[in-house]
């Protein structure tokens, strides 16, 4: 079958790979309905993580169950399923606390930019739809697997509440999903920080009430001006760089929370500065599994359309162009027909 392998910086290839097989009784094999490229795939693509052996890329997925291991009881072949990019047993203490992304058995999904994929810990990870969804819902269901779930977690970790004033730092796909999430949670005001017209427009479509196009200190000053010099009640940090983190903290009012979901690269926080800012922080890989049933329902009821975040669709064989388009910010997020 066709799959996607990363060999080194900017060397990603669609090539023939072995079909996945059941390796453990808790595995399932799914036939993907569609695949996509994640912003976090760009870290190794750009050479920021060392690649010691070729990586099977792709961790966002939805599709039809082909085969299950002997121990799998909650899904069966023929069902349409979505799963989190974090694989979890959904029974350990951390899972029960709603932090499935820190499951005692946690693994990270791989190999989903392909025709078929193996999903370990299928019982704890996969959620089936009542019936096979209509085709036009596939992009939005695929989005729940990671990008929407991650934006949602950012808003949850930032404790967005009804009426909150929210700032979203980062206009990538996750940031845009953060806007959607804050809107669904009833935020009174959503300030999206973005300097790109197409992303600003999408942010507004997802519920942003204000756009700040400046970054850094100038952007913070704009947010302060918009909030009567108070700062935001909740800030979603969806980038993971030192500058964006500083921007996020400086946009927050004392007592606010920053929900941070961009994997931090080179971010160091000074304890004393954090203390006197009195801004709270909660981040980490998103426990998408906690939110998944609810988010899938929102999609199936057509109450949200997160699939709009895909602004480029390519056949799987052109996956390399999909990476390039995102790397060069020509595309927000690339969907792959498999």
């Amino acid at each position: 079958m066709l799959g996607t392998m990363l060999y080194g910086p900017r060397d990603v290839r669609c090539e023939e790979v072995p079909e996945p097989r059941i390796l453990k009784p808790t595995d399932a094999i799914i036939r993907l309905a569609a695949a996509c490229i994640c912003g976090s795939d760009l870290w190794p693509y750009r050479g920021l993580n060392e690649i010691t052996s070729p990586l099977a890329m792709g961790h966002e997925y939805c599709g039809v169950v082909e085969e299950i291991g002997d121990a799998v009881t909650t899904v069966r072949p023929g069902q349409f399923v979505v799963g989190s990019f974090c694989l979890s047993d959904n029974t350990c203490p951390h899972c029960r606390f709603g932090f499935q992304s820190s499951c005692e058995q946690r693994e990270f999904m791989t190999g989903a930019q392909a025709r078929y994929a193996r999903v370990p810990l299928a019982d704890g990870t996969l959620v089936a739809t009542p019936e096979i969804p209509e085709d036009d819902l596939i992009p939005s269901l695929l989005a729940t697997s990671d990008v929407l779930g991650t934006g949602w977690y950012a808003a949850d970790a930032a404790r967005v509440q009804s009426g909150s004033t929210v700032v979203v730092v980062g206009d990538g796909a996750v940031g845009l999903m953060g806007v959607l999430a804050a809107n669904q949670m009833g935020a009174g005001r959503i300030i999206a920080m973005s300097g790109h017209k197409t992303r600003q427009n999408l942010a507004i479509e997802f519920g942003a009430t204000d756009i700040v196009s400046e970054r850094g200190d100038a952007g913070v000053a704009q947010v302060r001006a918009l909030t009567g010099n108070i700062g935001a009640d909740a800030v979603l940090e969806c980038v993971g760089l030192e500058e964006s983190m500083r921007q996020a903290i400086n946009c927050a009012r004392p007592g606010a929370m920053v929900g941070y979901v961009g994997v931090p690269h080179g971010v160091n926080l000074d304890g004393q500065a954090m203390f006197f800012s009195q801004v709270g922080m909660l981040g980490g890989p998103a426990p998408v599994r906690r939110f998944l049933p609810y988010l899938m329902d929102l999609v199936l009821e057509r109450r949200i359309n997160p699939g709009k975040v895909f602004d480029l669709t390519l056949p799987l064989v052109d996956v390399a162009e999909g990476y390039r388009a995102m790397d060069e910010r020509r595309a927000i997020k690339t969907m792959l027909r498999v």
Copy 2:
């Protein structure tokens, strides 16, 4: 009158100082019922903060109002009052959000290790009791001004809830008050980390269910063992050093919050490590004013006895010995008769 001045490292003196006067119409002058020494007074005492000119020491206070400025309306001469060590107007947006310690007009109290003290922003800062309290309640009322309010905030920031498993890092007066606070909030289990017998005993008296006497990695291993390798739901960091902060984070389960109230000295946090620990953080100077009416009621109703944290009482003239006793950990907290 007699007051306390810090001239340099370990050079603290009780000496004749001018009586405070009303300087602004929002000031009040109070006659202190008692004074005390704070753990945070030891930072400049030990030379960790540079002293460019002599400091008027003391920021915890309760007593009788002597005089008020023309603009003061909520307290009047003759009333017994307690105030927070953070002076606040209690009307600005940050105050209304319950973060009075980040008040737009915030000042820090000074000069309260004395007979009389000036309290700026009296209306927003002071809370009067219905009548003059009995003498034996003075230590506990004095404790609400900072040490109890700070321990309480640590528990609040760590989101201690009914049934929570709580770890308290630090067996100073604030940590012991954190134990009391967690107990009042209904924590199911309170693990106090302390290697000192007298402090362990006081922790147990305040509600600790378990004592861990090891520190660092050994202490963390003990907490893990006590919690079935899960970690705590809420951790109170009441020290402010790199080692204690690391210990606090490592005791927390994913999704837990660390409430940190020790002013961080030399604490640096690695963003990526924080991310993957999935431990949240909220700290800062405690917004004692938020909790003060409730805490004063608990004391007046004799439901709590935080004044037990004072294990040394000296006349004000012996203030230097009070500092020495705390510096050498011979005393947990020193009360001063003024």
